[in-house]
Amino acid sequence: MKTTLSGKLTTLLASGAVLMLLGTWTVQAQESLTVMGHAVHQSVSTEGEGGNIVAEFEEANNASVEWLTFGVTPLHERLFREASLDDGNVDVAFLLNRFANENVANLFEPLDAYQERDPIPEFEGISAGMKEAMTFDGKLYGIPFRHATHGLHYNETFLAEQGLDGPPKSFEEFIEYAEKLTYEREDGTQVHGFVLGGQGPANIMDVIWASGGDFLTPDFELKASEPGMVEGVALLADFYERGIMPEAYIGFTTEDVITFMQQGRVAMSINPFGRHTPFNDPEKSKHPGEINVTAMPLSDASGVAGVAPVKTEIWALAIPRNAPNKELAWQFIKALSTPDATVRAAINGNGPVRPSAYDDPRVQELVPYADAEKLAVEVAKVPLPGFADSAKVDDMVKEEVQAALLGAKTPQQAMDDLTRRVEPLLPK
């Protein structure tokens, strides 16, 4: 039988159409899940020696995960807008405790019923304090996934150049180190002894707590005007005035701190332990392998050797009330919350929300700061409890601390003004 050219073409087109239909059917059979978070959430669950946890979830559930990633503040702005709509597109969202409060909680599903019906394995192994940070009116709105706990990062080369042996062992020694590490190197680079990422509670509380002070307790007791907080602010103002902290610090962003550490323009900084990786990134850092991290030391005044309480922030997985695929969303949360997933994400650079992860041999082997972080996590606290006006209070702290740094107010005046402004905003 003779086949004409048009006949061949018809057969080819028909085969193509069948294949396309089959392909479409396969894609349609896959359920789509939209996850909104920060880029770091995507990287710690998909890249690194811990493997791709999300790919395994996709395969097990015949699902396709689409990530929408943003910076911290834009992420929450976008998330709250999306979650306020009648019909939503986001199935799972990463929510930071700093942005969560009793009003915002109304935009998300309480997860207690999901946990009761289809529980996360060894749920009690997830830090109780972290779960508490996501509980409002007795209901759990987020499953903790990641913590960002602060440690003291230091450049070992600079310590050696200034004749300092190992990291500081007390808060008083830390102050001496900061002074000694403010110097000009032989190549003319000005090194500043110390820097923080900003002036808000999330940045300064480590120094305030190490100075024996506090700002706002979890039960909303305001302590801004008390000696400990005033002394901590006075110390920062003194550091700033003497150039121990760079002049541009007052307008610093997180990225600026990373750049300063990578460029070797700052010797010590208090930052999340996970920053150890970018600080030592051989492609971006002038000091790869030279920047180490330890837990913040306690003050000698405490009378015991140990680590000081530091700031921690918690990212939790939440399901918006208008999520189109809530059941699959819960399966995703479950997949990322198992003990094994916690360990593997930790290997990929995540702060594990299960303390037991630090004892895992894989974490011990692959995370160089695992022991130090474990010590810090045991005493870490959230800098500001979640309440409706917490963002305003955060800005007020920043304003008053900046006024003290610039010398426009004494630390005591600034903290008295802060107390006067914050008090009316606190939950009664």
Binding site: S84, A248, G251
Partner: protein, 289 residues
Amino acid sequence: MYKLRWYHLLMISPVQLLLIGFIFIPSIYVLWLSLHQSSYGTETIYVGLANYIFIFADPIFWRAFWNTFVVVNIVVYGELILGIGLALLIAGWCPGKRLVISILLMPYAVTEVSAVVMWRFMLEPDVGLINWLLDSVGAGQISWATSRWQALGVVSVLSIWLTLPFTFLILYSAVTTLPRDVVEAATVDGATRFQTFWNVTLPMIMPAVLVALLFRYIFAMRLFSEVWLLTEGGPARLTEVLAVYLYRHGFRYQEFGVAAATGWVMVALSLLIALYYLYQMYRRMFRDA
């Protein structure tokens, strides 16, 4: 005299519908929102003029208002003076005219984010090129991170650099279309260069100047990125402008009513300015023509 017919209305209706859909209705919604207390996850409550009373009683709002007033006027008039000067210079004798115009237009192609990052780096106290140069000639450094007025100065310069091409293009097109015989007649009558500019050129390009002023005032009033990316309104909210104040209340504090009220104050200010300049344009172009 043309008579308005139904098909005339039909032809302009798409634009009118766009204006109603995208400007008028949202404005009315924002006005309604400004009379309510509204946030995520809470019920919207009618509060009358409470949001307006709140912002007018807030010293930070007034600081933002005056910062906006200062920066907008520096930017608009700075651009105008530079724009006229450059337009006259380039329309007259200027070697490599096309190249110079291309260079002048370049900043308009740079995104605000890139521009601010670039300027921020050049003004960095330790390693910034501009601060290093100023320091080496003994002029000291620009402390944009710590000084309110120096920061607002940097914002003004940056904003002028970014948007000068817009003003320049309007003025340059006006200057190049001036009738040469009028200018030559003034020269023949013995007018000096300044007299020719002041009495002949400037009045003739005045409609273009008013158009440039009107647009730039309205655009400059919305100034946000330059301040937000450079200082975030700091230190201690000293460099905040109205758009940053609005953003902070709307998106950071989730107080949509306060943000909407601020938005309406900005709209009212823009309308006042626009009314004055539109009246001037009407007077010069039609009534007194």
